[in-house]
C-alpha cells in the first residue's frame, strides 16, 4: 500500500533499526503476553516458579469460572456487570468531555461576549488543579446531590476537561475566517455552522480525543473507589484491586489474570477500531 519512505534506512541500518523496534515491542508487550499466559494456568502453577511461557490447559476452566460468577471475592458481582459499569463510565466520561469541551471551545473561538478571555483563562487555570486536589469538595457536592453509587456520580466530576477544550480551541482557530463567512453568507446560523461544517471537519480530532479519554475513564481508580459503596457499582479496576487485597496464597491468581485480560480488551478494541478510523479521516481532510 504505502511506498517505502525515502527516509527509510537501507541495508545494515535497516537491520539495526528493526532490532531496536522489535526489542521495544517485546519490552512493551511481554507483560501483557504474560498476563494472558497466566490466565490459562492454575493458581498452583502460577505460584510455583519458574513461570511457564506457553499457554496452559486450564484456559477454558479459568474463563468459565470467572464468568460463571464463582468469585465471591468481588462481592458476588458478575464480571459482566463490572465490564458494563466500566464501559458506561468510560463512555460517559469520553463523550461528556467531548461534548463539553467542544461547546466551550466553540463559544470561546467563534463568539464575542463580555469576559470571553476571562472564561478562557478560568478554564485554563483548572489544568493546574488535578482531580485529587479538589476531591474533598467534589465528594461533598456528590453526597449533597445524592449521587453516591450512581453513574452520574461516577461520570460528572471527571467530565470537565481543560485539555480537550484547549485542543479544540487550537483546532477551531485554524479554520479560516472565510469559511465561517462563506457559511454566514450561505445562511448558516451558529448551530448549522457547527453541525454542517465544524463538526465534520473536527471528526479526526474527536476520534483522537475519544480514544485518549476513553482510556482515561476506563483506568480511573481513586474517584470510583470513593464514590461507590455498593459492589454493584464497582468498576473493573476496583474489582481487580479487591481480588488481590488478600494474602498471596489466598488470591486466585488465575482468575485475577483472566479479569485483567478482560479489563485490557475493551480499551485495546477502542484503540484499534478508532485508530483505523481516524487515519482514514486524516487522509480525507488533508489540511
Amino acid at each position: 500500500m504505502a511506498e517505502a519512505s525515502p527516509l527509510a534506512p537501507r541495508g545494515a541500518g535497516r537491520l539495526v533499526a528493526h532490532f531496536w523496534m522489535v526489542l521495544g515491542v517485546i519490552v512493551v508487550a511481554f507483560p501483557v503476553y504474560y498476563v494472558f499466559i497466566a490466565s490459562t494456568h492454575s493458581t498452583q502453577t502460577i505460584l510455583r516458579p519458574p513461570l511457564p511461557l506457553l499457554p496452559g490447559a486450564e484456559a477454558a476452566q479459568n474463563y468459565s469460572d470467572a464468568f460463571s460468577g464463582g468469585i465471591s471475592r468481588i462481592g458476588g458481582v458478575s464480571l459482566w456487570r463490572l465490564l458494563a459499569n466500566t464501559t458506561i463510565v468510560a463512555m460517559g466520561i469520553a463523550l461528556g468531555k467531548i461534548a463539553i469541551s467542544m461547546a466551550s471551545a466553540y463559544a470561546i473561538v467563534f463568539f464575542r461576549f463580555p469576559l470571553r478571555m476571562a472564561c478562557f483563562w478560568l478554564i485554563f487555570i483548572t489544568l493546574m488543579l488535578p482531580v485529587e486536589v479538589r476531591i474533598q469538595p467534589t465528594y461533598k457536592v456528590m453526597v449533597d446531590l445524592g449521587l453516591i453509587d450512581t453513574y452520574p456520580g461516577l461520570i460528572l466530576p471527571l467530565i470537565a476537561s481543560a485539555t480537550a477544550t484547549l485542543l479544540f480551541r487550537q483546532f477551531f482557530m485554524t479554520i479560516p475566517d472565510e469559511l465561517l463567512e462563506a457559511a454566514r453568507v450561505d445562511g448558516a446560523g451558529p448551530w448549522r455552522f457547527f453541525r454542517d461544517i465544524l463538526w465534520p471537519l473536527s471528526l479526526t480530532n474527536v476520534a483522537a480525543i475519544f480514544v485518549i479519554q476513553f482510556i482515561y475513564g476506563w483506568t480511573q481508580y481513586l474517584w470510583p473507589l470513593l464514590v461507590t459503596n455498593s459492589n454493584d457499582m464497582n468498576t473493573i479496576v476496583i474489582a481487580l484491586k479487591k481480588m488481590i487485597s488478600f494474602a498471596d496464597a489466598d488470591t486466585p491468581w488465575n482468575l485475577v489474570m483472566v479479569t485483567s485480560v478482560l479489563a485490557i480488551l475493551p480499551p485495546i478494541l477502542v484503540v484499534v477500531l478508532m485508530q483505523r478510523w481516524f487515519v482514514k479521516g486524516l487522509v480525507e481532510t488533508e489540511k
Binding site: P176, E178, L179, E181, R184, V185, D186, G187, D196
Partner: protein
Amino acid sequence: MARILLNDVRKSYAGNQVIHGIGIEIADGEFVVIVGPSGCGKSTLLRMVAGLEAISAGTIEIGGKVVNDLEPRQRDIAMVFQNYALYPHMSVRENMAYGLKIARMSKAEIAARVAKAATMLELEPYLDRKPRALSGGQRQRVAMGRALVREPAALLLDEPLSNLDAKLRVQMRLQIKEMHLRTGQTTLYVTHDQVEAMTLADRLIVMNKGVAEQIATPLEVYERPASEFVAGFIGSPAMNIFTVRAGDGGVTLPGDAVLPLPGVPRDGELRLGLRPEHLRLAQEGEAAIPVLLRSVERLGADAFGYGMIEGSEVPMVLRLPGTSRAERGDRIAVVPDPAHLHFFDPETGRRVEG
C-alpha cells in the same frame, strides 16, 4: 436582482475612520468594480455590503430595503471569496447546494439550479469531487457556481481572480464578463488589477485611503481622471505627471523649457498629466518636451522609452512605435496631444478644468 444604494457609508475602527463617506447608486444589473491599491478600504466596503462588517455610519440599501442591521443571510446576497472558502469536506455538488438547502428549497429545484450552474461553468465532470481534488481554476469556478445558484439580489466578488495564474485569469475574466451578460446580475467586484477593472466594469469606483476618488465609467476615468491619484492609478504605463508653471498661453516645464499649450485652465503652479500614448514625436523646429532616454523596453508592437525631461530629474515614459531605433542616451522631443491634457491642482490633487 436589485438596485444597491450606498448612502454616505462610513467605517471606523476604534475611532479611526477608514472609509470616509461613500455614496453610489448601483442600477439593477449593473457591474460595478471597486478598484484601488491594497489598504484603500475596497474589501472593507464590499464586506460592509455583504454584512460581514458593521456599518459605522450611513446606510446601505439592497433592493429598496435598508440592510444595515441585517445578517448576511437576510440580505439576499452571494459572495465569492479571494481564497474561494469552499467547504473542504463537501463535494462540488454539496458546496453549491448548501445555501439552497439551508433556504429549504425543494430537492428538485436545487438539483436543477446546480445542474444549470454546472453546465454554465463546465463543472459537470467534477460534481462529485472534493475541492482538494480540483485545480485552482476549477475551485474558482465552484466558488462562482456556489454564488450563482443562489440567484441573489446582488453578487459580491472579492478579488476572485488574484489567486490564479496570468493565463487563467484572462480566461476567467472573459467568462465572468460573459456570465454577467447572460444573467444580468447586479454585481459588485473588488480588485486591485486595473485591467480587470477596466474590462469588466460598467462603472468604476476608484478608491484611495478610504475615499472614493472617482465614480464613473472606465472610459471617463481614463479620459477625464478626477484626481491626480486616479490619473496615476489607471492606465499602463502610468501617466506622466509633473509640476509646471502656467502663463502666457503655455507652460514652463521642469528644466525651464517653455511649451505653448492650448486650454491651460489658469495661471500659476499646476500639475500637468500626459499619458505616454498621447505624446508624439516632434517635427523639426516644433516646440516640444525634450526627453533624455535612459532605457528602452521593446515589446514588439510597442517600445517604451524611460527617461527624464532634459535639465531636470522629472521622469518621463514615452510610448514609441515598435520600429523605433531610439537608444539609451538619445534625446527625443515629444509633443503632447492637445485633446488629452490633464491639469490637477497641486494642493488638492483634484482635476482643474479650463
